[in-house]
């Protein structure tokens, strides 16, 4: 149990998916301009990634490996994720409209979020068992959300500052992300 907890912490902080492993940077810069969109995106990613992690892990274990189709892994994973996102969207729309109105517009964006496919691939590459896979599919997006929400907070303050013209918008965003990444980098000494 202790091992799993340590593993979870390391996924959230030490190997933060956004700032240390550089995955999912497009939505990171795209949705971090306002706190609301950042929170919505973070929730949607956590929600989808747990499901996607389980589905792709099962698909690999029970379909790809037994039938010797591992070379088709990339295409199968992306299709599973795309189908899953569609399904989740329809399901939420019908049965949990409250949640849908919160997450709705972020769901289609998730198909092409490389953090989602990335974590599914990491799970496979590191050969995690089912429990480890479950923890990593939950902890990585939590780290993603943490970084995204922190960054959105900083970015809202930047709006008030006077930034030199060439640095405006994305450029200053990236430099800020660098500083934030430096903070997360410091966690390396923790374990």
């Amino acid at each position: 149990m202790g091992d799993l907890f340590l593993f979870m912490i390391s996924c959230i902080l030490l190997n933060n998916i956004l700032l240390i492993q550089y995955l999912g940077n497009c939505p990171f810069l795209g949705t971090s301009k306002r706190m609301e969109t950042a929170t919505g995106m973070a929730m949607a990613v956590i929600f989808v990634l747990v499901l996607a992690g389980v589905m792709t892990w099962l698909a690999r274990k029970f379909v790809l490996v037994p039938y010797d189709l591992v070379y088709l892994q990339t295409i199968v994973f992306i299709l599973v994720i795309a189908a899953l996102v569609q399904f989740v969207e329809m399901f939420l729309k019908k049965s949990i409209p409250v949640l849908y109105s919160g997450l709705g517009i972020y769901l289609p964006l998730i198909t092409t979020n490389c953090a989602v496919l990335g974590v599914c691939l990491i799970n496979v590459q590191e050969d995690y068992d089912f429990l480890q896979m479950l923890v990593s599919s939950f902890a990585y997006p939590v780290g993603f959300g943490l970084a995204l929400i922190l960054f959105a907070g900083v970015r809202e303050r930047i709006l008030l500052a006077r930034v030199p013209k060439p640095l405006q918008d994305t450029a200053i965003g990236l430099v800020t992300a660098g500083l934030l990444s430096l903070t997360f980098f410091a966690f390396k000494g923790m374990v």
């Binding site: 700032l19 240390i20 492993q21 550089y22 995955l23 999912g24 940077n25 497009c26 810069l29 070379y71 088709l72 892994q73 990339t74 295409i75 994973f77 992306i78 299709l79 795309a82 198909t111 092409t112 979020n113 490389c114 989602v116 496919l117 990335g118 691939l121 990491i122 590459q125 013209k165 060439p166 640095l167 405006q168 994305t170 450029a171 200053i172 965003g173 990236l174 430099v175 800020t176 992300a177 660098g178 500083l179 990444s181 430096l182 980098f185």
Partner: protein, 201 residues
């Protein structure tokens, strides 16, 4: 305003050079610019995928139904990504290992999908091929430049064909920050800033 055929090719090299002008495909830009070898490898892999997927999508653009076009684009891109993956496994295994999960992640890299949606699905085969080639070469150039900067100042050497070539003198103290994760963000940010300064406005 219609571009001439030459302009379709050259716009990817400067006017719309990814990832600086079009801020797309950032993840590999950050992750694979630790060394010139990785950056260049990624650029070439992406160029191949981009040209092939642009050609195929533009050839099929009248057949693909509008409603499911994104799914079709993803499948076309994913197919070519698998081809690249298998080729790299066969011929450049050490580079394949270094680039790790970023090769399969070309599927969700916004550039091939973005070009398919914005360009290849509306234009002819030749134009799409040139657009893909231009964008790909532009991407390779940007990645190589960024990687060269980071590697040169971060380690004092440039690695080519797996052999580091020492460029800086012995008294040079490597600026290790640049090859770590935070350095990637800061470098890319500063590079964007320089591009903005040089750019038209």
């Amino acid at each position: 305003m219609a571009n001439t055929i030459v302009q379709e090719f050259t716009k990817g090299l400067w006017r719309e050079i990814p990832p600086f002008r079009l801020v797309l495909g950032l993840c590999p830009t950050l992750a694979l610019t630790k060394s010139v070898e990785n950056g260049f490898g990624m650029g070439v892999a992406l160029t191949f995928v981009l040209v092939c997927s642009n050609v195929l999508i533009s050839a099929l653009r009248k057949i693909i139904p509008g409603k499911v076009r994104i799914a079709c684009f993803i499948i076309v891109v994913a197919t070519f990504v698998i081809i690249v993956e298998l080729m790299m496994q066969a011929y450049t295994y050490s580079l394949y290992q270094k680039m790790g999960i970023f090769i399969p992640l070309i599927v969700v890299n916004c550039i091939p999908l973005g070009r398919a949606e914005a360009f290849a699905s509306k234009n002819g085969v030749l134009r799409s091929a040139l657009d893909g080639l231009g964008m790909g070469i532009g991407y390779t150039l940007s990645l190589s430049t960024l990687a060269a900067f980071r590697e040169l100042f971060g380690t004092g050497a440039i690695t080519l064909y797996e052999k580091p070539i020492q460029i800086m003198g012995a008294s040079f103290e490597p600026f290790g920050f640049l090859v770590e994760a935070p350095g990637a963000f800061v470098c890319l940010g500063l590079m964007l800033c320089v591009m903005n300064m040089l750019g038209k406005k």
